[in-house]
């Protein structure tokens, strides 16, 4: 049993963090979020060269041979950096395509950074479940920055290009300027069926979204602690006041609770643990809570500055809000956890 990253995993994490700190400082995030297509093309190329999109895939599929645990580390870093763009969709699509022998060429384009995918999470089958997909799905994250869509239906996994006949996409400005929303409208689209279990992909997506939320929670904590050490009022740093200090302690505790849960869930995915579904629900509920509560506290800890557009506090908070609805809200995950207890006695 070992739930701490080993030296190799620490090296992976440090490399990712180093590149993001270098290429994607806050000023760059703000440039990218103002672009027509909010994804950083240079960073995307660099990420592809470093193999980030295939970190979790076997080497035969062109991946790095690691697993969900390493992908989890990647998404914590992406959350910390508030990275704009369809990272989650691309990584999930790579997983889905890697299991389908007929899709090797497309997979190579995803891994090579020349194709980006959004994910349409459709557990209730709004888009239908026939060979032809019909319907409208709102609130698809990063749709405008993607070239293709991975559809996770109730029972099937579909793959379509935005350029396919019958696919229309409307970009909708949303609360989070770094992750634009889109409405996906399909009329009689013959999406390709992938040989991939949508439930397993949804669980992976849930855990990676949770990891991203841990990164957001962690960044909010660090921002508050840095500020509390330097901001002076009444002749001393505000971090000496227990009202601030204790709030920071709670932010740290929440982050560690979430990190532990998400780490277990990711390792459970790799270990094919029979309780992995429960862990994924728990991880998402706790990580989103940590992200939301920490980002709110971070606005408060920054006082008037926290209320400005100039401060990053609002970007963190808005990302947390977006993640709450990515692969299910806290309420949905708690209901899923409670469902087995509520069956008739």
């Amino acid at each position: 049993m070992d739930l701490m990253p080993g030296p190799e995993q620490e090296a992976i994490r440090d490399a990712i963090r180093g590149l993001l700190a270098d290429r994607l400082p806050s000023a760059r995030v703000r440039q990218v979020m103002a672009m027509e297509i909010p994804a950083d093309p240079e960073l995307w190329r660099a990420a592809a060269e470093l193999g980030w999109f295939g970190l979790h895939l076997p080497e035969q599929a062109g991946g790095a041979g690691y697993g969900a645990a390493e992908a989890m580390l990647l998404f914590v870093e992406l959350g910390r950096a508030l990275a704009p763009g369809p990272w989650l969709g691309t990584v999930l699509a790579a997983r889905a395509l890697a299991g389908d022998r007929g899709q090797r060429a497309t997979l190579q384009r995803l891994l090579g950074g020349t194709l980006r995918a959004a994910v349409a999470d459709d557990p209730t089958g709004v888009l239908g479940s026939n060979a032809h997909l019909d319907g409208t799905l709102e609130g698809v994250l990063d749709l405008g920055a993607a070239d293709a869509v991975l559809v996770l239906g109730p029972q099937h996994t579909g793959w379509l290009r935005l350029a396919d006949a019958g696919v229309s996409v409307r970009s909708v400005p949303g609360m989070d300027p770094t992750r634009r929303l889109g409405t996906l409208r399909l009329s009689g689209v013959g999406a390709q069926r992938l040989d991939a279990d949508p439930g397993a992909l949804r669980r992976l997506g849930t855990v990676l979204a949770a990891a991203e939320a841990v990164g957001v929670a962690e960044r909010a904590l660090e921002a508050s602690v840095e500020y509390a050490k330097v901001r002076q009022q009444f002749g001393k740093p505000i971090g000496t006041f227990q009202a601030i200090k204790h709030r920071c302690a709670d932010m740290a505790t929440r982050t560690e609770v979430a990190r532990a849960s998400v780490t277990w869930a990711a390792v459970a995915l790799d270990d094919h643990d029979p309780e992995v579904a429960e862990w994924a629900h728990a991880a998402k509920a706790l990580a989103t809570r940590a992200a939301l509560e920490n980002t709110h506290d971070n606005v408060q800890n920054h006082g008037g500055m926290g209320y400005t557009w100039e401060s990053d506090a609002h970007l963190l908070l808005k990302r947390a809000r977006a993640l709450e609805h990515c692969f299910g809200s806290r309420t949905a995950h708690l209901d899923a956890l409670a469902a087995p207890w509520r069956s008739p006695a």
Binding site: I244, C248, A260, V267, H281, A285, L286, R342
Partner: protein
Amino acid sequence: MELRFSREEEAFREQARAWLEANVPRGPKPAPHDLPGRRAYDMAWQRTMFDAGWAGINWPREYGGRGASLMEQLVWYEEYARVGAPEVSTGFVGLKHAGPTLIACGNEQQKAEHLPRILRGDVVWCQGFSEPNAGSDLAALQTRAVIDGDELVVTGQKIWTSFGHIAELQELLVRTDPEAPKHKGITWVICPMGVPGMEVRPIKTLAGNADFCEVFYDGVRIPLTNVVGRLNDGWRVAMATLSFERGTAFMSEQVRLARRLDEVIALARRARGPAGKGRAIDDDEIARRLALAKAEVDAMRAMTYRTLSGTARTGMPGPEGSMIRLFFSELVQRIDQLTMEILGPAALEGFDLDGVPEAGWSERYLTGLSQTIGGGTKEIQRNIVGERVLGLPR
């Protein structure tokens, strides 16, 4: 990273489980207020473990312990809690505090004299740290000890001394140098109980029990050979084992809490709903609060595992132990409060005229209120996290 234990660790688990299942006492437990009965029960069980070689699972072999690895300790405590083996209770200070302190800081004679007696269940220890004016600010303690020949003469008062009325020995902090800065003039000494000049008065708690006491010292004489570590070095001695305790104290607690939550969920499946109709579990709010508690109890296990993983790698528990402590104490109380709501008016029943509850939900709820006070209040825990983990200014 991996969840699986090694084959050797799994073999150890089988061995531990088999022994525990065959030997855990199944008879009735003594009532919470029956202190002599509890003492006899706890010490008999300790002796059973000692005779079979399971006592002092993490203590070095040379002092009669089992010398188990960190992962084996985890496995042992998990199995221990899973079969519902007795909580450490009256043995707590000896096994979890005084014993480890002696191992870390005692001389050979002190170790040889005391460690086997603790492991065999021959002796109950209590703690004399807190004072009426030295609680969270422990280093402000004022109980004086002056050297007279080859003895210390102690005058003062201690409080919150659990099991002081049934203990033979006490780990006692006294001020031996009133001129020194407050952390520097303290000495850690082994004090025999029931000696001339000492008076022990039980304190009744809000839960109706009298587990802890006040202890008064009026010229109590203690041989200087009972000093552990050096004179005036008692603060360091007292802190020597604290971080380790914080890091590993939760191996069994996380399993016990998970079992308890399972019982609360089962209760919610049979208790009537809050509006008097249906079952409690059919209420969305109760179901979600239970689900959140489930997620948090799972996370508690994951945090424990992570801390142990880090400790196994570095040899030292990290500061995140204080976060586990804070999280755990508040989580227990959230679960207890939710249990009270699920029980409804039935939570109010089962008390005698002295206010003493029967063993059960309400008793646990009331005793659980001490979780965020004893051993460092939750406010002190937050200071520790803020200052030592996050580096915020004092």
